[in-house]
């Protein structure tokens, strides 16, 4: 069975918010209607977004890391928001595992949002229904878009390629390989919701700098006597390279 999902690489996300704006652009222009913003130019603007990038500082100064953390609906394999819906407006598609809201059936009781531990659902104050990330279902199932563009808008927008899209149930897919090879994990595993979206952890990036690399790269005979550098007469790293 197919389970479409995103895999988000925290190691390369630079926090540019391109996925946020492209998501908003695509979904606000879609057939389901605009994602309402309340008083966008007022003193207290309020808006509906399916995707956000948050920033966290991990560690104690000076040993800190800045982690940019994109968050959207995780399309859980056992979505707690679906069974609580009194009308059946909230559902998980059998064919590709996308969790969706039928905007024509939703009564706007907001109960599903209480039942989502991730805060993935957003009530649209203009349409008065619950909305959420659709994994750009209209893009990924499109038959008119070019093949390369049948991906969520956020994935196409990411300049760092931090967002991978694919079927996490297919062990050969790009996303499954990334999860397996790079320790992909799920958020809040303690609730047993089994999110389909995974995150790839930060990796330690090391650059080895040898002292001689800083002074001279190619000087096999150690004959460079020009100032201010002194000629090296002891064997250097390149003497052992082969």
């Amino acid at each position: 069975m197919t389970q479409l999902a995103l895999v988000i690489d925290l190691n390369v996300c630079v926090g540019c918010h391109a996925c946020v704006t492209s998501c908003k652009q695509w979904n606000t222009s879609g057939s389901a209607g605009a994602l309402a913003d309340l008083e966008p130019y007022g003193a207290d603007p309020n808006g509906t977004f399916f995707n956000r990038v948050q920033t966290f500082e991990v560690g104690q100064f000076p040993h800190t890391q800045t982690v940019h953390f994109p968050k959207s609906c995780l399309h859980c394999e056992d979505p707690p928001c679906v069974p609580v819906c009194p009308t059946g407006a909230s559902y998980k598609r059998a064919e590709d595992g996308i969790v969706l809201v039928d905007y024509d059936k939703c009564i706007g009781c907001k109960y599903c949002s209480w039942a989502c531990p991730y805060g993935a659902r957003e009530f649209d104050e203009q349409r008065k229904v619950m909305t959420k990330c659709t994994l750009c279902v209209d893009r990924v199932t499109s038959t008119t878009l070019p093949k390369a563009e049948r991906k969520p808008a956020c994935v196409l927008a990411c300049p760092a390629n931090a967002r991978l899209f694919g079927d996490v149930h297919d062990p050969e897919s790009v996303v499954s390989r990334a999860i397996a090879e790079r320790g992909g994990y799920q958020l809040m595993p303690e609730w047993g919701t089994r999110p389909a979206n995974h995150y790839l952890p930060r990796r330690k990036t090391e650059i080895r700098v040898h002292a001689e690399d800083l002074t001279r790269v190619d000087n096999p005979l150690k004959l460079d006597g020009q100032q201010p550098e002194h000629p090296h007469h002891t064997p250097g790293r390149e003497d052992f390279a082969t």
Partner: protein, 313 residues
């Protein structure tokens, strides 16, 4: 969570209506107070009408919670999985049963005990549905406890009995006032114990989710630097009460006083001095206290999604 007044009114009004109905039926079955036929009929008809009125007001309040009230009829569809859907079925059913029960007494037709028994079952089912809407959300640990169900049941019965005491006094049924007041005292005391237990439990709760599990980063020190936007969103509107801890504490002590000792004091003096005004005050205080109690019930619940929305920037 941000307290939703529509739901606060719905649950408190329903609780009082259900408690009142249970009291009426218990009175009929046990032949409490040795009422004359006419008196009994008067009490049961008027009482059913009041219970119906309260639950109708509750139903009305619930519509204000919906973004699309015109589609409310759809919400009976998913009764197999959703407690909310089950409540949507149980509430009109309860109102129907109470109407039937009251009408049967009004018309003097037989079978009232059978009708009442069915209504009692529906009434108890409604208590379960209402409470389980909250108790079944496992992410809200303050709610996810059997105590939630017990509290809804006992607080509903307590307020219903206080109202029944007032009703008996207004209808001039002196033989019922004292036993009702005693029962109200007992139920209020019991509810005080269980609500106190849930307050103690919630004070000792350890959140299951942490910033570490929310991000999947296992470092003890993580600080949010930006939530991704400067304005508001549904996440900041719906899940934060935006009140100070001091206000929450005040509301807690206010409801502990208003729901439990003060109405009991008014009941005791009211019954001893045969003062209807004090009985009115008893119910008014307890109902106001229950509004505060339900407000606190919401405000105290801490949703795990709040972990993601700690710092604007």
């Amino acid at each position: 969570m941000k307290p939703a007044f529509s739901v606060i009114f719905l649950t408190t009004l329903l609780g009082a209506a259900q408690g009142l109905f249970l009291t009426l039926f218990a009175t009929e079955v046990s032949a409490l107070g040795q009422l004359s036929r006419a008196d009994s009929q008067r009490l049961l008809v008027v009482g059913s009408l009041v219970a119906l009125l309260l639950s109708g007001l509750g139903l009305l309040a619930s519509f204000f919670h919906l973004g699309r009230p015109e589609r409310a009829w759809r919400s009976a569809a998913m009764w197999r999985t959703s407690w909310l859907s089950r409540e949507v079925i149980a509430l009109p059913l309860f109102m129907l049963c109470v109407s039937g029960y009251g009408a049967a007494h009004l018309l003097g037709s037989g079978g009232t005990v059978l009708m009442g028994s069915v209504a009692v079952l529906v009434c108890l089912a409604l208590f379960v549905c209402t409470a389980m809407i909250y108790a079944s959300v496992r992410f809200l640990q303050e709610w996810a406890s059997p105590l939630t169900l017990v509290n809804y049941l006992l607080l509903g019965c307590a307020s219903g009995l206080t109202l029944a005491t007032l009703l008996a006094a207004l209808l001039g049924l002196a033989t019922l006032v004292t036993p009702y007041a005693l029962a109200a005292t007992l139920l209020t005391a019991l509810a005080c114990l269980t609500r106190g237990a849930s307050l103690l439990r919630n004070a000792r709760l350890k959140p299951k989710s942490t910033l570490q599990s929310a991000l999947g980063i296992k470092h003890p020190k993580i600080v949010q630097k930006a939530q991704g936007f400067m304005g508001g969103s549904f996440n900041t509107r719906e899940f934060f009460h935006a009140r100070t801890a001091a206000l929450l504490r005040s509301v807690k002590w206010a409801f502990l006083l208003l729901v439990f000792p003060l109405p009991l004091l008014c009941l005791a003096i009211g019954v001893a001095a045969s003062s209807t005004a004090l009985l009115v005050l008893a119910f008014a205080l307890q109902y106001t206290g229950l509004l505060a109690e339900r407000w606190f019930f919401f405000a105290q619940a801490n949703h795990p999604q709040n972990l993601y929305y700690q710092t604007i920037s």
